[in-house]
Symmetry: C2
Subunit: 326 residues, 2 copies
Amino acid sequence: MPTRKKIVTIGGGTGRFALLQGLKKYPVDLSAIVTMSDDGGSTGRLMDEFGVLPPGDLRQCLVALSSAPQVMRKLMNYRFDKGELKGHNFGNIFLSTLELVTGSLDKALDLAGSILNIKGRVLPVTLDKIKLVAELKNGKVIEGEDALGDYQLVSRFGIKKIYLKPKGHPNPKALQAIKEADMIIVGPGDLYTSLIPNFLVSGISSAFIKSRAKKVYVVNLMNKNGHTDDFEVSDYVRVLEDVVGKKKAFDTVVYNTKNPSTALLRKYADEGEPVLRRKGANGQKMVGANLLASHLVKKAKGDVLQRALIRHDPQKLAAVLMRLSK
Amino acid sequence: MPTRKKIVTIGGGTGRFALLQGLKKYPVDLSAIVTMSDDGGSTGRLMDEFGVLPPGDLRQCLVALSSAPQVMRKLMNYRFDKGELKGHNFGNIFLSTLELVTGSLDKALDLAGSILNIKGRVLPVTLDKIKLVAELKNGKVIEGEDALGDYQLVSRFGIKKIYLKPKGHPNPKALQAIKEADMIIVGPGDLYTSLIPNFLVSGISSAFIKSRAKKVYVVNLMNKNGHTDDFEVSDYVRVLEDVVGKKKAFDTVVYNTKNPSTALLRKYADEGEPVLRRKGANGQKMVGANLLASHLVKKAKGDVLQRALIRHDPQKLAAVLMRLSK
């Protein structure tokens, strides 16, 4: 039996959910590294009240990697719509309580992974309590990932400095996964709130640079208004490589070539425009492909994939990446 | 291989928890029938907000019958002590959310039973929404199990009538278990709020009377001040047989003969006095034994067994009952 390829993903949101769903069907050894700077919504409330680490992004990865019956995945994503629990997500409460009971997020994830029968591992990038801080060029300081995500003038003023407070120690399991990986896939995910915070944790960028893995950046389908307006493919790579601290840190860039329908784009206009590729490569191999999910799904409560109108197709995305892994 | 004895338990609280913990170590086919009139605390809040059936007593039976690792049992019993979730019990939220996701308490219990690797089955006595109502002889009407449990003048005025509103259809699985049982153990459990409400559900008393099972009443260790003051063993049996509608409905009565220490009795004085046996049998076989847990356990958050100072010993209780089952 050939050794299974070790694939590490670093990303967030609906895009990474699709990526993990696609990759888990292949015979690979999957690790999902998760930013720990989330502080909004149900996650933020649980952190404030119980002093736990942020469960929301971890839960999404657990669900994406789960082979448990559909009902268990529905349970984990169930969002309460009334009463005292309103806005909370059952899976977040579940993970936080497991952390309180076991006294460690690491143990909580082991147990949750076994209950949900996950394929692969979900690894917090750090087990320290950290906060994302962005200093804009006009002097404004934005504290917290949630606040930064909501701030609409990031691109107008530009980010002078982005950092974690405190910097956070890297999770040894995440470092190890990066070191041993055959391929590291960064993205899809929100540039400032899902991708960059991982590389700001002490030791992660240097481990990434040192790793002999093939390094692939999967660029988002859409720009984010107020954050990455008018970014094209090469801008995403450039900004992230600046944070990582090495030009050509990525070998390969994967981007979408298929335009969403005009009707969809109109609905999405308040959120952003498609990411285009205008310039040539910056030394990376450029892989353009149709990565767009072609069928619309009815919105279902709490299902992260179905929250996005324009989204990656898990199968198309995974197929492109698996070809690159050879 | 000989067929395994089918044992049905009907009870509640710490006493039944001890009983199930003791019985699950024997090679028997166990069913725990659970009253559905609980409406207090965390359970009542979940019922009010989400329209679910009461999860609390079901959860306790699931935990008692679980062979899952200790951490899973701790998780199910975890009680939040601050914030919006204060007073809620994780296991209650878990069961209620499973009921919301699956649309049925029956399916929720199947799933929870499999996650918790339970030995036996936990069967709600009814799947209808019911309320326990007690009418006292002075005309006062007390609505709700929680209110009745807290009312301190029940024994002073006496109960004229106790009933469910509505009466509730019996859970077919509970009826079937009663019908096929080799032994039905009623108690331990609070007389008015844990035992009687089961027999008030339409069809349960007649199924109990018709069943060819050996019928054993396990009398509580302690009377409950304000409810069963000065009751002796035969009073418990008489009051319950009145509700069931048949004299000598029970074949055998099991009661404790060992007095708790004076120190413990002093601490417990506000709650009640030991149940004594003064009179002879009412046609039943009387089995007295030392059923008392002899070692004190440190109180641990949320552990139902450890909430009671004076409690049954799971091994002693199960041993007496297993001898009777032969």
